[in-house]
Symmetry: none
């Protein structure tokens, strides 16, 4: 294999230039100097451009490349590109701070992504697989599954329901507290009721869960507060984790990420358990949707 990308670092290149300097002519030295001092910049240049920048000719540039050990300028240029990339990746991004009002957009993107990644890691680490397994079994074997959630959690509830429907299970999401309770009354043993609330104390979702619980339905709570009021009516509790929140960044943002991961895990577990029916159902729903795209 060609030795283009060898262990060369920027400083190694500089050293090479120094070593070879004595055997270099004046113009070659100018070229070598330019290359050593700004590898990234030079990588973007053609022979002609580099020749012009160093006030020399193409021939000299090529000669220099040869002297440095490359077959020609083309290869030197590739090596320089590699060097530049290494150099850049060396600089750690270091995202530690909060999002400030005057952060440039690029930082906002980086910070948000980083925070959400952190939230995912935390959630995965804290998730109790035994509880998850129990919830999975319950949903996989349920006649129907009702999911309660209001506000941002309502969207998570809908997300779960959409997915369950896709694999052929009966599922409903309720954001309206009154309708939720009215529907909860219909539930019985063998059904599953899931409440999603970050605070663990949202009355609007606790109430329907209580009703379901008292009627013998298997109940699951997905909450960020494992000791919250909602857990007293829950057979299984799945805990979401929360990132510290700042003024601009409401807790709802990271709790949503966390809730979605939990819900995804729940769904994947159910999909595994019901694979025989889930796979064809998924395929069928794709099929049905295909003609909606042009």
């Amino acid at each position: 294999m060609k030795e283009i990308f060898g262990g060369a670092t920027a400083s190694a290149l500089a050293a090479k230039v120094r070593t070879l300097a004595p055997s270099m002519t004046r113009s070659m030295h100018r070229v070598a100097e330019a290359v050593a001092s700004d590898p990234a910049g030079c990588a973007a240049l053609t022979v002609t451009a580099l020749a012009e920048r160093t006030g020399t000719s193409e021939a000299t540039v090529v000669r220099t490349a040869r002297l440095l050990g490359y077959p020609g300028y083309r290869d030197l240029r590739l090596a320089l590109a590699g060097l530049a990339a290494q150099q850049q990746s060396g600089r750690a991004p270091a995202i530690t701070t909060d999002i400030a009002v005057d952060d440039p957009l690029a930082d906002v993107v980086a910070k948000l992504a980083h925070d959400e990644q952190q939230t995912l890691a935390d959630t995965a680490a804290a998730l109790d697989t035994a509880q998850l397994g129990a919830a999975v079994d319950a949903v996989a074997g349920a006649r129907r599954t009702d999911v309660y959630g209001v506000g941002a959690s309502g969207l998570v509830a809908q997300d779960l329901v959409q997915k369950l429907l896709r694999i052929g299970l009966m599922a409903h999401a309720h954001s309206d507290p009154h309708l939720a309770v009215t529907n909860a009354v219909q539930l019985r043993a063998g059904d599953v009721a899931i409440a999603i609330t970050h605070s663990g104390s949202t009355g609007d979702v606790i109430e329907p869960l209580r009703v379901a619980f008292e009627r013998g339905t298997t109940t699951v709570a997905i909450t960020g507060r494992p000791g919250g009021a909602v857990t007293q009516y829950a057979d299984h509790v799945l805990t979401t984790s929360t990132a510290r929140e700042s003024e601009l960044r409401p807790a709802a943002m990271s709790s949503r990420t966390s809730q979605l991961l939990v819900v995804d895990c729940l769904f994947m577990g159910v999909a595994q358990r019901t694979y025989e029916t889930a796979a064809p159902s998924l395929a069928a729903s794709y099929e049905a949707l295909a003609h909606r795209h042009r």
Copy 2:
């Protein structure tokens, strides 16, 4: 400065290939595949050699390079050299296995979390901050903002709207295609319409965006296919990236994660720009919700 060596990592390249795969032709796909699977090897090849290795023509190689966002093959090659160097110095960890039907639940959790983290990283790396900035400015200054999305994207649309409402902006989410169009007719210059569609070709959301676009509204598309039909009516395009999907894991899952990050970034940007009014509005909405928790 030329953006050749941007935060691209080997996996980011792979993500890009996946994102663009749908808009690729068969031969272009072969080239992209070769490049993604062996950046170092391909960096050593000339157009002709790569064309031969992939059993295609030079023209196709160049076309592929263009599609991947480089001005030509020469630049793609430089980028590949950079990638190769990074890879060699960094030795990627690479935990890339699929979720299998018989995976224990703990593995499912780990894999899902890992995949979503990856998706976030890819999305952040690929997000065009200039486009984002333009979208932010538009929304921050809009009289009202309408967001279109159906299916899973509909939930993302609602998420965005919920957040915008919290900082005191006028925003509406539309999942019903008919109502969406009916409402789009009401829009005018100074308003903003946002379409969210992973495939980029969902007629139900393209139609209202078209109507809005033709009425002079500022339009934004959030899509996984930067070349999709939806972009022709979009003033600004925000690209989401896609993880490879497996049988059990529908694309909708990772596209949702990606879409949410984009939407969060958009929101944070708007919150920054409108800080004076956003902060008190946020506080007020907390206050109002407090009594719902016991």
